[in-house]
């Protein structure tokens, strides 16, 4: 490779510590069962590769088969929540998020794990989605592209929420790199074999990629379609009771990632009236009719699609890693 070509290669630190988390929401069962199975098979599967941390994030919620006990665990990883005052009366999930931060973090520090893959299911018809905070995390984007190539029959999308690291709130933000792997449609409390199979294959392909990366493989650049979240829309509600007064329209139901144009049907009231999308640009809907979002006031999200260029990447050599580390330490001084 010429010097100029070398300049365009992103050289990133080795991914020494990787964590796969399931049961962050206790009723999203693919991840619960997959992590349990991988824990059982640990010795057989992981022999030649880097050790992977397998974590069941919310055991009490899993036992109850509910999303959470006191509060949504996957909103408890802001710096403010992690470093707030401690108390015996704190909600279970806040105590748990701090334990996970010790185990996998501390968030923002050099000790944090290199990569977190947090497993989720959705009732929305989203296929397999990566959900991240960044549209330029080359590790996550390359893993996504690798999965697309290894599993071409699975509909896959890359979503990014435009939230700064400071404001980030989910478990995957604890690692230096991280993403939620969201697969649907699956009812909560149910494990569907086809969905489980996709999640298992995806996690194993991801771990393969990490192994190749750490072994020095150079990954070619290219393009990835990234869906950047613009806004969400709530259900129409009754003013006083806040009860929902319309359902997702049959023409929108199950049509995640089908472009929604101004004037297209959004909701159908219980008296049969159609309510339309009155935004001024066509956007891509997703998380359409996700059960857990009723209480968060979200009927669907809307995103713009962009063609993002990803560079060639490879792992840093030991020498490069040393230079980088010294640079980091001198910055701290």
């Amino acid at each position: 490779m010429s010097q100029m070509e070398e300049d365009k290669v992103a050289c990133l630190p080795r991914l020494s510590r990787v964590a796969v988390c399931g049961g962050t929401h206790g009723n999203e069962l693919s991840g619960v069962y997959l992590v349990r199975e991988l824990l059982k098979a640990k010795k057989k599967v992981m022999e030649e590769k880097e050790p992977v941390l397998m974590v069941l994030s919310n055991p009490r919620a899993m036992q109850q088969c509910s999303r959470y006990i006191d509060t949504d665990l996957n909103r408890c990883f802001t710096q403010a929540t992690l470093n707030g005052p401690t108390s015996d009366l704190a909600p279970y999930e806040i105590i748990r998020s701090r334990q996970l931060n010790v185990m996998l973090g501390p968030k923002g520090s050099p000790e944090a794990v290199d990569l977190i893959c947090d497993l989720h299911n959705t009732t929305a018809n989203m296929g397999l989605c990566f959900i991240t905070y960044s549209d330029s995390d080359w590790i996550c984007l390359h893993i996504f592209r690798h999965l697309q190539r290894q599993m071409p029959d699975v509909p896959m999308r890359y979503i990014n929420f435009d939230i700064s690291h400071k404001e980030s709130y989910s478990l995957d933000s604890v690692g230096k790199h991280g993403f939620a792997m969201e697969i649907g449609p699956q009812p909560h409390g149910v494990v569907r074999s086809n969905i489980y199979r996709v999640m298992k294959d995806a996690v194993l392909h991801m771990l393969d990629w990490v192994h190749f990366f750490n072994s020095g493989t150079i990954f070619e650049g290219g393009f990835v379609d990234v869906f950047t979240v613009v806004r969400h829309i709530d259900y129409p509600r009754e003013r006083e009771t806040r009860n929902i007064i319309a359902a997702i329209h049959p023409q929108l139901q199950d049509r995640d990632f089908c472009l929604l144009h101004p004037g297209d049907a959004l909701f159908q009231t219980f008296s049969g009236e159609t309510l339309s999308y009155n935004g001024n640009e066509p956007l891509y809907p997703f998380f359409v009719n996700e059960c857990a979002y009723y209480e968060k006031g979200i009927a669907l999200y809307l995103a713009r699609k962009r063609h993002v260029m990803i560079p060639v990447i490879r792992v840093q050599t030991e020498k490069e890693q040393q230079i980088n580390k010294e640079g980091f330490e001198s910055e701290e001084e």
Partner: protein
Amino acid sequence: MSSYNNNTCYDEARRVAIFGGTHGNEMSGVTLVNLWVKNGTEIQRKSVETKAFITNPKAVEKCTRYVDTDLNRAFTPENLSAPEGHDLPYEVRRAQEINRIFGPKGSPDAYDVIFDLHNTTSNMGCTLILESSKDHFNLQMMNYIKKAIAPASCLVLLNEHPLLKYSTSRSVAKHPVGLEVGPQPQGVLRSNIFEAMRVILKHALDFIQLFNEGMEFPPCMVEVFRALERVDYPRDANGNIIAMVHPNLQDGDWEPLNPGDPLFQTFDGKTIHYQGSSTVYPTFINEAAYYEKQQAFVTTRRETLVASAIRKA
């Protein structure tokens, strides 16, 4: 009920109830009943007093199946006759209250018909649940509904088996009718499922109105699926599930399951086959709420029942 000129006579069905929220996270029924409590025009018929009622309001508020115990199993004679007290589980107290309002179960004062609205995560489509093969009034109603919605389909599940039958909220009435529509995730409202349930109830109430006006319904044949046995997931010594419903069986409610067909798939991809000796028709395949009840699906047998001619007494 009496027989006269080969007709089976039933009393006029004047008091009818529609129950929603027996399971607080089965949203079609919750939504419909809330709608009709606010404005009941749609469910009124000239000769019928129809009452829409949320059976488990605490569970509805929390959007959960139940608070202490499953309301739809709580209407046992023991529970209904237990001395009142605040140390009773919430749903048992609710069952006693519902029995007071709409029963007493088994007495002449009980409501004539109760429709109990449910959703399932199983791919069951529209299913009417019948608790007795000898209830000709219900059989005739179900026949009427099936014909009215054709070519759309509505199947009848007969749950008369002494080991599988359970003490439902609707069992308080003289003519209990279960209405189960799926697939729909718990806590989710899908407009197509909601509309399907609404249409079935419309036809059910039309039938009752016609019956009360004196219409005679001639004998008819009704195809039913009779519940045979429940089949659990394979589990390990600790009771943990070790296999999932097989992709071939998933969503295959009401399709024939033949000996040797795939039933379950272990987490590492092995197939477990159906060992029965005859073809059965499985239903309630992969219903979320039944994991804790040790039920992956229920087997049924196809039967044709003959409904006697009926008319108002």
